[in-house]
Symmetry: C2
Subunit: 391 residues, 2 copies
């Protein structure tokens, strides 16, 4: 019997740019991004907006319209943007993907056109998914507007929406053509959104970079006081570590069962679900990291002293590290309402063997493939006790 | 303003295997494919069947069941397969993708599980799309059962379904983990399906390999008489040329505007649509190639003698090269009902500049970026006149 072995590699590249006032007519970054080679015919761009961001930026449409006019020789814009709700709602309701596909179709966009999405991580995930499946891939420009999207959600290679009550059940690995991080969007964030993005930076520092963790400790108060320079520096370094991981891990499209950047995330995904997304993703990640850090310490990995430093950093940034949903049905991990059911859901999403990242010390993670449920119950108990003592 | 350049490459590899009696318990190819490394836990497989194929293979379920029992230590199978209609219907109705996603979800498949699809090219496209978007990619095994799927549709890196009346409006570039070409499926094809797959072989011979074209000429009668050896040899060489193109073209995921393997396809896609898919894809491709060959000759590229050899080969294989739909609204290329509107749809799907493959000589294509509509009308006229003379 014959056989043909097919082998090829596909190169991917994109820039993550850091700027301010992206749609100031004097800032040519956006025009240069969509028209890097003097394209002929000039490209068409469909904007997708996060309604939360849109409501806080009453001048955005006018600014984009002025910008488009100024650079009209280089690109054109579909007259009606698509506006979808911010936050997890955008990923939960299939009609939002449909709205974007409808707009792509009725504007006759092609594979050389662009979808430019401006908003938080959930909206960039939704628009990214719609762009990835239309015509087998419309070019995507992400313009993330939250801390979490700028340092984590919108810099990577994934997109996705929720289905069947499962997070990111539908999605693809398709890198964007560019990510434009405009720090001036951060001014409009409320305090919760501002803070939520910090936990992904703590996460990546904990598993990869002890120096960055110390920088975060030194800047904790400034971050809590909304110091923009401290936050810009956090975003840059966090994005850089995230990108480094993707390009050097050897598994950018996650074919294995390991996903180190998901430290703390099995808990986080489950708590978002259990609270019906009342918790922001970053708030849930902070709790997830706190829990897996205490569990690491109870297992004998990280020291008690380092464990305390980590919890203290989160508190100095203003995070709450305990919520009641952690305790429900703790003795019944087989029930969907138990946070411990999240372990099974996490394994299912990645596939293969269960792989959980824990902490060996600050700056170095360690992967385990089994969990000790009674010890997890004890970790939850510790978290509750700590938090009560603080009140 | 700072900037981070992200760069990485992703390696892809898969085997295209040629076999007979895939589910004979003594044939270990299928078991070896899903369990190449003694996987732990053992993988789960969801089967998706083409109802057309399924109805012709009354013993298939029993054979698979016996096979699974024999190799039960190596993989397990989801008890209920998904059965969807064969042909373009599977790609036209969104409920078929939904049925496959429902089955993936309710069986708790993960990224290490498999979707194994058995059927024609439309069904492998539909199942491939569903597998590609579930959990950002369930592993796909294609088991194509028609000539066209074995030599063309199911050996490449694309999947997709139709939407908004547009062919492959939704889809992705995601290679399978394996393609298992079982020649014994060919016995159940009706004469139209048997013949239809020949045109993709003629296509790839015309643009890439004059020797292969001569082999096809020599075998035309045998192919028309359903000689299985002649067909197996055609399938192998056509698949090989197709795979070579993907791995050596430098653009496996088609980011540019050029798509040489779509020679004759702008006409074919449009005729399928205009005939409401009464024409099989391969039948439409034969007409598309005939038209673009005559047009190439009228433009002064290919010689009249070679043009005649090409039309004669199709006729020797039993193809009809003219249908009435070619003539409707010929003076109104702006109307969707005109075959000439297909030029615009083709450009839109690929994006960027219009790029049409024509023939310089047998074995060598030439790309053009403009078309001469009056000359296309003349080519259609020639096709009709030729065909009338034959009757």
């Amino acid at each position: 019997m014959k056989s043909i072995k097919q082998e090829f590699t596909v190169p991917f590249s994109y820039n993550v740019e850091f700027t301010e006032n992206l749609f100031d007519p004097a800032n040519t970054l956006f025009a240069d991004t969509v028209d890097s080679k003097g394209s002929d015919p000039k490209p068409t761009i469909l904007f997708v907006f996060d309604s939360g961001m849109y409501d806080c930026q009453p001048n955005l449409m006018r600014d984009i319209s002025n910008y488009t006019q100024k650079h009209s020789g280089r690109f054109s814009v579909v007259s009606e943007p698509v506006i979808i709700p911010g936050g997890e709602r955008s990923k939960n309701d299939p009609k939002h993907v449909q709205m974007i596909l409808d707009a792509i179709e009725s504007a006759d966009l092609d594979r050389h056109s662009y979808v430019a999405v401006i908003g938080g991580g959930a909206v960039t995930d939704t628009a990214g998914y719609a762009a990835a499946i239309a015509h087998r891939g419309i070019r995507l420009i992400r313009i993330p507007t939250t801390v979490l999207a700028q340092n984590d959600a919108a810099v990577g290679v994934k997109n996705g929406v929720n289905a069947y009550g499962k997070k990111n059940f539908l999605g693809t690995f398709v890198p964007p053509v560019s990510v434009l991080n405009d720090f001036s969007f951060l001014n409009t964030l409320d305090d919760r959104q501002w803070r939520a993005g910090i936990s992904e930076a703590v996460k990546v520092a904990l598993i990869k970079d002890a120096d960055f963790f110390e920088e975060l400790e030194a800047n904790a108060k400034a971050l809590n006081m909304r110091d923009k320079d401290a936050m810009s520096s956090l975003i840059y370094r966090c994005a850089e570590l995230h990108l480094e991981h993707i390009s050097t891990s050897g598994d950018p499209f996650e074919r294995g069962s390991s996903r180190p950047l998901d430290f703390g995330h099995w808990v986080a995904h489950k708590l978002e679900q259990l609270t019906d997304y009342r918790l922001l993703h970053g708030e849930a990640v902070a709790i997830g990291i706190a829990l897996d850090t205490i569990y690491s310490q109870l297992l004998g990995y990280i020291s008690e002293e380092e464990c305390t430093r980590i919890l203290d950093l989160f508190r100095a940034c203003g995070f709450t590290l305990y919520i009641q949903e952690l305790e429900q049905h703790l003795d019944h991990p087989e029930k969907k309402e138990s946070v411990l059911h999240g372990l099974q859901e996490f394994r299912e999403h990645l596939g293969g063997e269960l792989t959980i990242m824990l902490l060996d010390e600050i700056g170095r993670g360690v992967e385990v493939h089994e969990v000790d449920l009674p010890l997890y119950r004890k970790a939850i108990d510790t978290l509750r006790t700590n938090e009560k003592e603080l009140v």
